[in-house]
């Protein structure tokens, strides 16, 4: 229960903070993600007694959430390269190349898994598909971080938080899905429990970066010349009256 309710509360707080600090316009896809996940959870709460609609709503919502989370990575890359005209084409092209390669590898991973002897094959198909998508997400995050660090671009505070949260969750979810859906070393209830814990960690990382008041450090090296000249001129004119 705690693992379920904590991210709903914390993400709602992040949504409020983002609106308050006008960050929703800076990171609209991340904002949509942060707002959508708690909304979906509340919706699922009302559907919990209807097994089949709950199942459909959960996995359909999961597909949308995963698609938006891929959009968040694209948004962070775009946020970085937007000021640098010479980097835009290179970075976005690299993003799509890695995405296509990771999708191909993800499909190989999906088709290579044997599902014929499984009792709950529908759930397993979904889990294996999710593993492929998490693999794609992890690859895109690796490219994003490598690109930024190799080119020595300056990471902004909020972008670090978004990447760190998604990275931590993608890594742990990929590991859990591999252990459950492919290697069968853990049970499904253990997967659900540990997945919730990993998501709580990700939400905590986003909260650490978004909720506390944060001011960019500005180093003042010299006095702004033009302002002093302007004030002086205005004062001089005032004194001459």
């Amino acid at each position: 229960m705690t693992l379920w309710i904590t991210p709903i509360v914390v993400q709602s707080v992040i949504v409020i903070v983002m609106v308050w600090r006008r960050l929703a316009r800076v990171f609209p896809v991340f904002f949509a993600y942060t707002a959508l996940v708690p909304a979906r959870e509340v919706l699922l709460l009302f559907m919990r007694n209807h097994r089949e609609p709950y199942f459909r709503a959960y996995w359909f919502g999961e597909a949308i959430v995963v698609a938006i989370s891929l959009g968040v990575i694209y948004e962070v890359i775009w946020h970085f390269v937007r000021p640098y005209f010479f980097l835009r084409r290179l970075a976005l092209r690299l993003f799509w190349i890695v995405a296509v390669a990771a999708v191909a590898l993800g499909l190989v991973m999906f088709t290579a898994s044997d599902l014929s002897h499984r009792p709950e094959s529908r759930r397993d198909i979904i889990l294996l598909a999710e593993r492929s998508v998490r693999f794609l997400q992890a690859c895109l995050l690796i490219v994003l971080i490598l690109l930024m660090s190799r080119l020595a671009l300056t990471w902004q505070h909020y972008a670090v938080g978004i990447a760190a949260g998604f990275g931590a969750f993608a890594a742990s979810d990929l590991a859990l899905l591999e252990l459950q859906a492919h290697l069968h070393l853990i049970s499904f209830p253990t997967l659900v429990l540990m997945n919730s814990t990993a998501y709580n960690v990700a939400v905590a990382i986003w909260a650490i970066y978004f909720v506390p008041p944060w001011q960019r450090k500005v180093v003042v090296e010299s006095m702004p010349n033009t302002d002093i000249a302007h004030w002086n001129q205005v004062l001089s004119e005032y004194l001459k009256r």
């Binding site: 020595a152 990275g167 591999e178």
Partner: protein, 178 residues
């Protein structure tokens, strides 16, 4: 099994990169101060000699083969250190340019853009040069020339000096009213 290894490697690389990312972003020192204290000078003439093919041929002819191989390894290792220092300087200058772009003065902003572009070119150039040097180190018999544009690097340093001197200009002497 291969797929599991790929997944494990992906997770490990991602976690290491995330760890480095959060550590690097926590150490947010002023890049201008860092450039003044940590920006290391590179002897460009020495680097030119290290990657010069004629110099290599001269050594090949002058010393015994075993000694040549030893010397060549030392030269390449030194060349790699030079390239890494230049790449590090370019990285620091990219951060300086990022800060300089926030200036209100239009000419400083356009100079910062130019500095950023040059730093980026030097950084990419250094990556390629380092790759070539490593190839030479592994395959000494291959005839590979190191594509490091030192003129670009020199221009980069000049641009940086210009921006820093602009930032540090003392306020104009104004006779204060009142």
């Amino acid at each position: 099994m291969i797929l599991t290894i790929i997944v494990v490697c992906t997770i490990a690389v991602l976690l290491v990169l995330l760890w480095q990312l959060t550590r690097a972003s926590a150490a947010g020192d002023d890049p201008i101060r860092l450039w003044k204290t940590r920006g290391r000078k590179v002897n460009l003439d020495a680097f030119r000699l290290l990657v010069d093919s004629e110099e290599e041929i001269y050594l090949w002819r002058s010393v015994p083969k075993a000694q040549f191989r030893q010397l060549q390894r030392k030269r390449i290792a030194l060349g790699l250190r030079f390239v890494r220092t230049m790449a590090g300087n370019a990285a620091l200058l990219m951060r300086v340019a990022t800060i300089a772009r926030q200036a209100e003065d239009h000419s400083t902003v356009s100079a910062a853009d130019q500095l950023m572009y040059l730093s980026f070119q030097v950084r990419i150039n250094a990556l390629v040069a380092a790759f070539c040097l490593i190839l030479i180190l592994i395959f000494p018999s291959w005839n590979i020339s190191v594509p490091m544009s030192l003129e670009r690097y020199q221009r980069l340093l000049e641009d940086c000096d210009r921006i820093l001197s602009r930032r540090q200009q003392p306020p104009q002497n104004i006779q204060m009213a009142g």
